[in-house]
């Protein structure tokens, strides 16, 4: 975009404002408005935002943006309005009205112009109205979207003028839809009809509300308008319903992948070794705390901390696992009840240990930038990044594990020991060592799950307990001793839960899934994929 077109656009907007009869106000009145904005009375503050927006002052956008960002202050010494920049003890200041340098000050010398949600919303809309002429297309697009559904003749006029100058198709599209959401309340029936037709195909949530409002509006007498709105609303609803199902599927798969991560380690210790490890959840917790410690150790590199935390968590949880196996569990093989009680005791010890070392309060694990937010495929269907990465991660872990069991010597030894301990031992396999490593592997994978879960939920001493029951459920349902079963089991339970939840609510959905599993186990005690042959009977 060249400079002349920016200038032309600016001129057009100024002309538009003038045409609306808004006086081109001098800086003195912006100052008055600022007084109002910094005042106490809420209605005055709201009015001040509009006044600054319409002032045509070249500083208006900067002032509003500063108020939105919380960088607009009043200096205590001379009551001047200043905009701060920079962080730390001293901030640099610019005069809000003139844009001139105003020295620097400490936070204590300034009085922030505080805003609340409602005020910020109107500030955002005001900034958007002024940004319709921004040289960057992305900013114009964001501005046009922000104005969706706002009701003000002044903004409608601004939008119309901006549209006449706009060349970018995407921005034009957003602006047209924005205009349509305003025209839908026009007094002219043809205009309303046109606006409704223009809204066809938009999935924006505001659009649905506006269409529904037209149909419910008792003052709307034009049957044509009503019919058009109803028709478009119907197609919109059908599309939304389809996307809702798609979202449910995504949610289900993502819940399934969380279950898979938590359960796959258990599938090894419980499924392959037959050890009922009640401290499995605490291995997950240790993994999550490792993430916390790693983040504390490398504060400058939060973006990469997770990649460091993965091997660290695997090692920490794995070593603790080996320690538990060597110290306790190996004396209890073949006595499931004692194992259960002993590992339950270990889980309590680990919890209290973490409570003593790190405090009973939850620890804060920061989510790196690349895992926050979502990609919106369209306004009705968004994929959240953290869930997306966790799905990929769960599949990678499963794949790595299958490879390990299938194609490595350790995997072979492990399978040999599981299938026939005595025979494996007589073939020269050191079964005790294999036991310890297998348990360490299962625990280490739980540690990996902890890293992933630290991005989704709280990191606290009790976090493991939330996953232990679900993990056992998945392993038993999928078939003990079968990784494929664990995968299918986790996904089935995840998806079933997420499709039930919108219908029954979260509490009942959980109950229904449990009942289903109980009935299923009655029919097929060995789970989905039962191991057959001698190994299963051992």
């Amino acid at each position: 975009m060249n400079r002349t077109s920016v200038f032309a656009r600016l001129l057009a907007i100024l002309a538009g404002l003038a045409a609306l009869g808004l006086p081109l106000l001098a800086s003195a009145t912006v100052e008055d408005s600022l007084e109002g904005l910094a005042g106490k009375k809420f209605s005055t503050r709201l009015a001040a935002v509009a006044a600054i927006r319409d002032s045509a002052d070249p500083r208006a956008a900067d002032i509003l943006q500063a108020a939105l960002d919380g960088t607009l202050h009043r200096r205590k010494s001379d009551r001047r309005f200043v905009i701060s920049s920079g962080d730390g003890a001293r901030v640099t200041l610019t005069d809000a009205l003139t844009g001139d340098d105003a020295g620097s000050a400490t936070k204590a010398e300034l009085l922030q112009v505080r805003t609340n949600n409602r005020l910020r919303k109107s500030l955002r809309v005001a900034v958007a109205a002024l940004e319709l002429s921004h040289p960057e297309a992305a900013r114009r697009l964001a501005a046009a979207r922000e104005l969706l559904g706002t009701r003000s003749d002044a903004t409608a006029k601004l939008l119309r003028d901006a549209l006449s100058m706009e060349q970018d198709t995407e921005v034009r599209d957003a602006m047209e839809i924005g205009l349509a959401t305003m025209d839908i309340k026009s007094n002219d029936a043809t205009r309303r009809l046109q606006a409704i037709m223009r809204l066809d195909g938009s999935l924006r949530p505001e659009v649905r509300g506006l269409l529904a409002a037209v149909i419910d509006n008792p003052d709307e007498r034009d049957p044509q308008v009503k019919a058009a709105a109803a028709k478009i609303l119907d197609t919109l609803d059908a599309r939304l319903a389809w996307y809702a199902q798609l979202s449910n599927l995504y949610f289900g798969i993502s819940l399934g992948s969380v279950l898979l991560l938590a359960a796959v380690g258990l599938a090894i210790t419980f499924g392959v070794m037959g050890v009922i490890n009640m401290a499995h959840g605490e291995m997950v917790m240790l993994g999550a705390y490792t993430t916390y410690v790693v983040q504390q150790l490398m504060p400058g590199h939060l973006e990469w901390s997770l990649l460091v935390a993965l091997p660290a968590a695997f090692l920490v949880a794995g070593l603790v696992g080996i320690l538990i196996e060597r110290g306790v569990i190996r004396f209890l093989y073949g006595r499931p009840l004692e194992t259960l009680l002993a590992t339950f005791g270990i889980s309590l010890i680990l919890q209290q240990a973490v409570r003593t070392v790190f405090s009973p309060l939850n620890r804060s694990v920061t989510t790196p930038e690349w895992m926050s937010g979502a990609v919106a495929l369209n306004p009705a269907f968004t994929l959240t990044y953290n869930r997306f990465y966790i799905i990929i991660f769960a599949l990678l872990v499963l794949l790595a594990l299958v490879t390990l069991l299938r194609y490595t010597r350790f995997g072979l030894e492990m399978r040999a020991v599981t299938q026939n301990r005595a025979m494996a031992s007589s073939m020269g396999i050191r079964t005790a060592r294999v036991d310890a490593l297998t348990f360490g592997l299962g625990s280490g994978i739980a540690g990996l799950a902890g890293v992933a879960l630290s991005q989704l939920t709280n990191v606290g001493p009790n976090m493991g307990q939330a996953y232990i029951v679900d993990s056992f459920m998945v392993v038993v349902f999928g078939g003990v001793g079968n990784l494929l079963g664990t995968f299918v089991g986790a996904m089935t339970l995840g998806v079933a839960n997420k499709f039930l939840e919108p219908v029954t609510g979260a509490v009942l959905a959980k109950i229904l899934v449990l009942i289903f599993i109980i009935l299923f186990i009655q029919r097929r005690p060995r789970g989905l994929f039962a191991l057959s042959g001698r190994a299963a009977d051992a």
């Binding site: 609340n116 949600n117 409602r118 989510t367």
Partner: protein, 442 residues
């Protein structure tokens, strides 16, 4: 200060003597110091130090210890030093009752400061009534209760939930027309939401504009619910979420809101159990701008508050520790108890109870808290917006203080019930229609 972490046995003979002394004091109806003058006055601390609730309750234990230490520096009460008896009910509800019995029967404590969850309070209630003890309960709760033996220093629904809704309905709060009541599935959210639902309907909100949603304890997968809220909020009316979601589950909830792109400006969430302490353990990024309703915020600028924060940081030897609303409630409860004991001249429960009514002490936000005969206190209500440093910007507050209402006016069954422990009513559930004292079981 001496702290007893475990039970110590007290001689039977001494117990009888003291009981007799108490009986004399009672019958005489005047100020009598027990004959067997003890060297200390024992104060029970009944907060979980292990298990799930340790996260919130450990801080309160430390708060009481600090208050006792400060009082002892001032010379104690009635010339005697205070002695804390700390027990750990381990987040286990039946154990709460057991420990309460131990504190009252064996330790003979003069008062107990304790409990967090409603279920733990309900569990100890029969013990306190049977043995005529005194419990100071510092947490916001669902109301519908007023026991002779409990002083409720936390907020009743009319001191937290209802003002929060009023704020959101106002022009300033965004003129909210559509409401999501989301809570964890247990007694506090269910009762509070029932009250709020009736309140909203009384204010002219239609049933289709209210969505109620319950989730299990520790719920961590909020995808579906956030999507539902998003859908519910796209009906063209301003929507807000009133959250009675239990402490822990809030974090993944806010994270999901942030990830799905719902900002506080679009759909604000007002929470009743998210305070400074909870925020100190999480990444506050996705929460900024969301609201909380409390009777105290650490960020309030008042002399009492900065003094309290200073002594807390010194006591706990950690400059980063925060203060929160239930801590203030314990502060108020403790000061009231001290005042009442001094007024009564004895720690005898009945005498102290009578002395409690009308006792006024400064709260930490620059106002005055008074104990009313329904065993609830007057509090200001503050609405704060979460800042990125885990503190709150106070955006609104009630002009004066609000008196806690034990029985809500927004449930048909409770409307007719009042609590008044002063003569002539002397009843925690007096039915004004029938004029009897058995309006409801609590």
């Amino acid at each position: 200060m001496k702290v007893r972490w475990f039970n110590t046995s007290v001689g039977a003979s001494r117990r009888t003597v003291r009981a007799a002394a108490a009986a004399i004091a009672l019958t005489a109806g005047m100020i009598v110091t027990p004959v067997s003058a003890q060297d200390t006055i024992k104060v029970g601390v009944l907060h979980s130090l292990s298990g799930t609730m340790a996260i919130s309750e450990t801080t309160l234990k430390d708060t009481v210890l600090m208050l006792i230490e400060e009082q002892n520096k001032k010379g104690g009460i009635l010339g005697k030093k205070l002695e804390a008896v700390v027990v750990d009910p381990a987040s286990n509800w039946p154990l709460f009752a057991e420990k309460a019995r131990d504190l009252l029967e064996v330790q003979k404590v003069a008062a107990v400061f304790g409990c967090w969850t409603s279920v733990s309070r309900k569990s100890v209630l029969p013990v306190f009534e049977e043995l005529n003890g005194l419990l100071f309960y510092p947490v916001q709760y669902e109301g519908e209760e007023s026991s002779k033996n409990v002083f409720y220093t936390g907020a009743a629904p009319n001191q937290q939930a209802i003002p929060a809704v009023d704020y959101l309905m106002s022009e300033e709060g965004g003129a909210v027309k559509r409401w999501v009541l989301a809570g964890t599935d247990y007694v506090y959210p269910r009762t509070t939401n029932k009250i709020l639902e009736n309140y909203l309907k009384a204010k002219g909100v239609k049933a289709e504009d209210i969505m109620i949603n319950y989730t299990p304890f520790g719920h961590s997968d909020w995808q579906t619910i956030v999507t539902d809220i998003k859908k519910f909020g796209s009906a063209g009316k301003k929507t807000a979420v009133v959250s009675t979601i239990n402490g822990d589950a809030n974090v993944p909830f806010y994270k999901e809101l942030g990830n799905q792109g719902l900002s506080a400006e679009d759909i604000p969430v007002v929470a009743f159990s998210v305070g400074e302490e909870e925020l100190s353990g999480i990444d506050t990024g996705p929460l900024v701008g969301h609201l909380a309703a409390w009777n105290y915020f650490m960020s309030v600028d008042a002399t009492e508050n900065s003094a309290f924060i200073d002594s807390w940081k010194t006591f706990i030897k950690d400059d980063k520790r925060v203060t929160n609303d239930p801590m203030e409630a314990h502060y108020i409860g403790f000061q009231m108890w001290v005042k009442a004991v001094e007024k009564a001249g004895t720690t005898n429960v009945d005498a102290v109870r009578s002395a409690m009514y009308g006792v006024s002490v400064p709260n930490l936000t620059g106002g005055i808290a008074t104990m009313f005969p329904n065993h609830h206190i007057s509090k200001p209500v503050l609405i704060g917006e979460i800042r990125d440093d885990g503190q709150f910007d106070v955006v609104w507050q009630t002009p004066g203080t609000v008196i806690g209402d034990a029985w809500t006016d927004f449930l048909p069954d409770s409307q007719v019930i009042v609590a008044d422990w002063m003569p002539p009513v002397k009843c925690g559930n007096f039915n004004i229609k029938t004029g009897t004292c058995s309006g409801q079981n609590y």
